[in-house]
Subunit: 105 residues, 2 copies
């Protein structure tokens, strides 16, 4: 989790993807997941990424419409979405500010 | 910070206001502030709310236009905004999902 925290702060996205040895997406850790992990266990060193992550998170494909991504975020009340290819490899990430900047909303 | 964490999880806003003895707003703790506090100090019990908070956060008045709130969130790249009255007493909170639901964006 220590590494996840630093990654989240460096990339300024408020989330980080968890991938397996083949670089395929297995989970997502958001600031909210981090907070909920702390509610349960105050020692972060004792928490692994897989314990804190949301497994099998909502994603969008690179060729899907941005509007579909926004709809997903609204429906699921989430603030970020990973973009994955057909092999579940993470190729990008979207948040509300990306949609605002792009004029999708 | 332990109390702040629980409050943030209970209210499902990803943030909590810090107020003084007169209930006037002095700061805001978001999930991001929490994460950054953990980057510096892993023992949450040693961190007070005032150490982790963003002092004097951006706010909006109850009679200001919602569009102004959205503009503030875009400009400052923030995901939430507190609504305060003329005495700096917190009367509400807004996030991106509120704006989407209200049809402001």
């Amino acid at each position: 989790m220590r590494e996840a925290l630093l990654e989240m702060t460096e990339k300024r996205l408020g989330m980080t993807a968890v991938v397996d040895a083949d670089d395929r997406l297995v989970g997502l850790i958001t600031d909210g997941d981090l907070r909920r992990a702390l509610d349960r266990q105050t020692d972060l060193h004792a928490v692994s990424a897989s314990e804190a992550m949301t497994p099998d998170p909502f994603t969008i494909g690179p060729d899907e419409l941005a509007a579909r991504g926004l709809q997903l975020m609204e429906e699921k009340a989430i603030n970020g979405l990973l973009v994955v290819d057909g092999d579940k490899r993470v190729i990008g990430a979207l948040n509300m500010h990306d949609f605002l900047r792009a004029g999708v909303i």
